[in-house]
Amino acid sequence: MMVKPVESSFLKLQEELPRLLNRRIERRSDRPRWAMVIDLTRCVGCYACQVSCKMENGVPYEYFRTHVEVIERGTYPNVRRVFLPRLCNHCDNPSCVPVCPVGATYKREDGIVIVDYDRCIGCGYCVQACPYGARYPNPEIGTVDKCDYCLHKLEDGDVPACVANCMGGARIFGDLNHPESPVSLILASKSVATLKPETGNQPMVYYIGLEEAVRVAPGEAIVVNPKVGGVVRV
């Protein structure tokens, strides 16, 4: 007697999962220029991007290629929390690249700033030169490490892990050289801002709702204390 296989939704999901998690890049040009838009109005602070990045890239304990900064604004009782996902900005004029004494970090034609792990001597100069704190000395491999937009996935036509796993759809990734890519459409239609434009680095990670998120009173400076999770105003 033939046993009919059970139609399990769980099994179906298991089959579908790789396809769902590996979202393909559909609209791209022959010579892509990759960029990311982060919509802060859609970020819910779930840390899925942070966790998936660590899993995908084997990022060591206590270090991050991307992380979600939690910023508190206002004074009691009028307070709010802002989630600010951060990663390498793959700047057009990166300050980390010219300082490398051995040319181990460079900007590719497609806009991605990467580290040549075979050449890097691990001096940490690029870590110091990055105004976004996006690099870290990887104690497991001895060199500096950073976000590379999940280059291995990108070369297979998939979006980076943080984008694929963003449950709120806050991270949008695409080719600036394709007029109908998601990032091109957003940049053409919405108001975006970058972190620290005054550095002259010309960051290529754009934020929607940044000004609203980081707005502070004139002259106010805020210290996020990582030890107690508290906020100190100076």
Binding site: P101, V102, G103, C123, V127
Partner: protein, 345 residues
């Protein structure tokens, strides 16, 4: 995280490179600036410079993630990086110092000695200034770090380099001469004391002006940095760098009696040396205690030196022992410094 990207080893490196440059400049004073009373310390200063120069890359090598790839700086130098300059400047400086020592130790009576020593001193001073200045440039040109991003730092580094070199030469002049039962020349001590005083005055003025401008500007980052300086680095900044290594020697050495006294000069020079080390420490470590995470938002961190492990007290002590060994070796091998004024005077 309690560990910093550039830990205590990186604070040791500019301290060493400053001494190497400063001691070399001290050795050139009789030749280039006709300070004949300092002829006696020329070879001693050169030996200090040479030994310190050899020891100076050790903290850097120990700090690298891949020390055995250090040769990449020579194989694939990126000219836009001030750090890439290091290898070349270091080699040129070491070659110059070595030739100078050989000439001063064995060929001081040759007819071409004066001309060659003048040429070596002239080139050497430029290389020494570049050597200490480029490190200041690495910090001063870094726009990502609030405390470092400052055009005064390269100049301040050159001044403090000369200061630390002169101070160590003065200390070792007294110690080595006393141990060798030789008479310390008060004119030489006094000359070093006067130069140290003027440079210290400039250095304190530079640091003071920098503080004044930053305090007046009241940028958001500076206000937090100021808190770090007052709290975490309060003792090493105000106590050691400014008061112990700056104001006190400046007051004491303003008297000619102090600069002519071997004991007082040694103590004041030691204070200056400690102050210069504190300056390197406060700059390298202090700069990294504050990180701007987004506009007007900062995180602070703390740092304590570990007893063992990477960048620990153990390794720093080992480097200082190596440095002392190299200096002793140099004094034993190139022993003409014993001739003192009889040779060059």
């Amino acid at each position: 995280m309690s560990s910093l990207v550039w830990d205590a080893l990186i604070a040791v490196y500019p301290f060493f490179s400053g001494i190497a440059a400063g001691a070399y400049i001290t050795s050139t004073l009789p030749v280039l600036f006709k300070r004949d009373e300092l002829k006696e310390v020329s070879l001693l200063a050169l030996l200090i410079s040479w030994a310190t120069l050899i020891a100076s890359p050790v903290p850097l090598l120990l700090h690298l993630g891949f020390p055995w790839r250090a040769g990449n700086i020579f194989a694939f130098p990126q000219v836009s990086s001030p750090m890439a300059l290091f290898g070349y400047l270091w080699i040129v400086f070491l070659v110059l110092a070595t030739i100078s020592i050989i000439v001063y130790n064995w060929f001081y009576s040759a007819p071409w000695f004066k001309n060659l020593s003048t040429v070596l001193a002239g080139i050497g001073v430029i290389v020494a200034i570049l050597f200490s200045g480029y490190i200041g440039f690495i910090f001063g040109s870094n726009k990502a770090v609030e405390l470092w991003y400052n055009p005064i730092i390269p100049i301040s580094f050159i001044l403090s380099a000369i200061l630390s070199g002169l101070a160590l030469v003065a200390i070792l002049y007294v110690v080595v001469w006393r141990l060798s039962r030789m008479e310390v020349n008060k004119a030489a001590l006094n000359a070093m004391g006067r130069i140290v005083w003027w440079i210290l005055l400039l250095e304190v003025a530079f640091v003071g002006v920098e503080m004044l401008v930053r305090t007046y500007m009241q940028t958001a980052g500076w206000r937090i940095l100021h808190n770090i300086l007052m709290e975490q680095l309060g003792l090493s900044y105000f106590g050691v760098q400014l008061i112990l290594g700056g104001i006190i020697p400046l007051i004491i050495l303003s008297s000619k009696r102090a600069t002519s006294s071997a004991g007082l000069m040694s103590i004041m020079s030691l204070l200056i040396l400690i102050g210069v080390f504190a300056y390197r420490w406060n700059l390298v470590i202090g700069g990294q205690l504050l990180l701007e995470v987004s506009p007007y938002t900062y995180t602070t961190t703390t740092y304590t030196v570990a007893l063992m492990g990477h960048g620990s007290i153990f390794w720093i002590s080992a480097i200082f022992v190596l440095w002392a060994f190299l200096m002793s070796l140099a004094l034993l091998v190139f022993s003409n410094w014993r001739m003192g004024m009889k040779t060059y005077g």
